[in-house]
Amino acid sequence: MATAVHGPGIITELEPFTPGHRACSGCAEALAVRLAAKAIGNNAIIVNATGCMEVVASPFPYTSWRIPWIHTLFENAAAVASGVEAGLKSMEKKGKTPERNIKVVALAGDGGTSDIGLQALSGALERGHDFVYICLDNEAYMNTGIQRSSATPYGASTTTSPAGKESLGQITWKKNMPAIAVAHDIPYVATACPSYHRDLMKKVAKAVATPGPAYVHILSACPTGWRCPTDDAIKIGRLAVKTGTFPLYEVENGQYKLNLNLTKLEPVGNYLKMQGRFRHLTEDTIKEIQERVTQEYNKLVALASKSGEKASPE
């Protein structure tokens, strides 16, 4: 029996994504999907890109999904979702099926989103399909064995950006996917982390309720790839947020809003030092990362203050 993640009257007991999947122990991404699924509800169709969450949830003849779910390829989740959404609309308009307001949600990893699936995602956002795209970001191609993606953070050692005498690991800064989504002028963009489960569910629910395209970028710790103890995933997620490495914010119709009022950012070293993928970093590099994180965080603060939206205290 799985322990239900719910507080009476606060979190639904609904579990469209069931226990028994094959995710690694300590996987925060599976938790993110579980929470997101609770917020999505039963009246939905899930389109899943190839990746960890597809593989762990659907080894034939088993499935973790109690709601309709389709997986086809790696880079096309947004395009398949476009077809599902347009198909439903067309069939309803023609009276071939009753109007049921079925929600369409695409799930993809950071590689499937920021690398190979970026074009399909951009197309679907630009066309204005009424759907939610959730990027499950664990900062590398974890399913194939921890290869770097454009979402891998600076300094992280992965199997294709290994730290070595001549390299500090990943030498590029993490691609800012939420900003790319915002640039499409879509009605709703948000970042979330399963370490803040109620915030995550609230955002997914909001995304689902938003007419038109919505994008939710969820950072989820991968103990296997981040080289950390399996019981640290939630703690690490919290530190990602509290250090400003992964700020929680929403962009509604272009208006930025920081969700947590962090009066002072925790030092980024606290976050990096918990993870084996950063263990080779020198204090100089950590300082460099700190400067970048502070600078990026301040940009967000500036954008949010322009909108005049107040962040809630943590």
């Binding site: 039963n42 009246n43 939905a44 169709i45 389109v47 597809e54 593989v55 659907s58 080894p59 034939f60 003849p61 088993y62 499935t63 999904w65 109690r66 709601i67 309709p68 779910w69 389709i70 997986h71 086809t72 390829l73 880079e75 096309n76 947004a78 395009a79 398949v80 979702a81 476009s82 077809g83 599902v84 959404e85 347009a86 198909g87 439903l88 609309k89 067309s90 069939m91 308009k93 023609k94 071939k96 099926t97 049921r100 079925i102 074009q119 399909a120 951009s122 197309g123 679907a124 630009e126 066309r127």
Partner: protein, 391 residues
């Protein structure tokens, strides 16, 4: 009463999709497919066609959106050509393996490099093994009729497979031909509404595209192969029904002037029309020459081919694509494989021609047939020859 009217073939193909009451069109423009999708967009914009038109950002997404639309049970149509067909390559395999009866018109065109917008069959041949039903048409009327037939073939519960209708770029897509568009009510009678057996539906949840481990993958592929093989019976049935309803009858291989023909030429697509004229002339000159027009490319019509070559001594096959470093043309090598070991084995001579829009005239076909006869008798230094190449 329907009447024949002068229509551009691309326009007529789009009209055929409209007559078939498609629910979703998802397409990306590429020459020479453009007129088909432009007209569909126009029909949707004018409210003549009640469908969602998804103007996707690539062919990969065009076919991917078709998967999604088909998965919820929408009747889905698209069209592409050449590089577009190659870009959607991996998605084509998914469409057939996941049993989505999408219909796609392919305006056959050469592949880069060098870039060429003109016709040949290189694009088709690269997608030979994707598990789709594939039909070549020779003229505009065949294109129209077979788009309508394609939905009924693909959507039949015994089949549930996607169908490609191949029509030659420009020489077919862009010409104006006398075409008879069937009446909507006749099409409605012929083509029942699409009822996908297990669509994505929250009221009856299914998991589609699960992960196939080694213990099951082989069986899935075997089932797929058997299914495509067996689809031939339904294809024949649909053509028969279509013939009864509309008076035009199609077959996997059409024979032309084959009575007593010792020499047969096999062609596909629009070039068959010129080849017929060449065969007529040679017949008039007293030569025992006939023509086989291969219409059904997948599933390959083995029996019909064996049956149709019974009286022939020489079979000349024209390919409009090269299998580089291989036996020449893909069609010729399949024909050889189909006949090898059979009771009756004519000498099979392979030509490649009509690449990248290079025309083959009536006298060209005559020349090719004569050279084919010569090769059959005295041999050639090569596995195949390229007709009309300047070496």
């Amino acid at each position: 009463m329907t009447k024949r009217e002068g229509l551009e073939v691309s326009i007529a193909v789009a009209d055929a999709a409209m007559l078939s009451d498609v629910d979703v069109v998802s397409a990306y423009p590429i020459t020479p497919q453009t007129h088909i999708v432009e007209h569909l967009a126009e029909l949707v914009a004018n409210g003549e066609l009640k469908a969602a038109y998804i103007p996707v950002e690539s062919e990969h997404s065009a076919m991917s959106a078709c998967l999604g639309a088909s998965a919820i049970g929408a009747r889905t149509f698209t069209a592409t050509a050449s590089q577009g067909l190659e870009l959607m390559h991996e998605v084509l395999y998914v469409a057939s393996a996941m049993r989505f009866p999408i219909v796609m018109a392919v305006a056959n065109r050469a592949l880069s490099a060098p870039i060429s917008i003109w016709g040949d069959h290189s694009d088709v041949m690269a997608t030979r093994d994707v598990g789709w039903i594939q039909i070549f048409v020779e003229n505009g009327q065949e294109a129209v009729d077979n788009v309508i037939c394609a939905f009924r073939m693909g959507e039949d519960k015994r089949v549930l497979l996607p169908v490609m209708i191949h029509l030659d770029g420009f020489v077919l897509t862009h010409v104006i031909e006398p075409i008879e568009l069937p009446d909507k009510k006749d099409v409605d009678r012929f083509l029942p509404p699409f009822k996908y057996p297990l669509p994505l539906d929250p009221e009856k949840p299914v998991t589609m595209g699960a992960f196939g481990q080694p213990f099951i993958y082989t069986e899935v592929k075997w089932a797929q192969e058997i299914n495509l093989e067996k689809s031939k019976d339904v294809i024949l049935e649909v053509w028969q029904e279509f013939g009864k309803a509309f008076g035009r009858q199609y077959s996997p291989i059409e024979q032309y002037q084959t009575d007593g023909a010792k020499v047969l030429l096999l062609t596909m697509g629009s070039y068959s029309e010129t080849a017929m004229v060449a065969v007529d002339k040679m017949r008039n000159d007293g030569k025992e020459v006939g023509l086989l027009k291969l219409r059904l490319w997948r599933p390959f019509p083995y029996e019909e081919l064996r049956e149709s070559i019974k009286s022939a001594e020489i079979l000349i096959v024209l390919d409009r694509a090269i299998s580089f470093g291989g036996p020449g043309g893909p069609v010729c090598s399949e024909v050889k494989a189909a006949l090898y070991g059979g009771e009756k084995q004519p000498k099979v001579v392979g030509f490649v021609g009509g690449l990248g829009g290079r025309d083959i005239t009536m006298s060209g076909f005559e020349e090719m047939i004569n050279r084919g006869i010569e090769i059959a008798r005295t041999g050639s230094k090569r596995e195949f020859e390229i007709y009309g190449v300047r070496e």
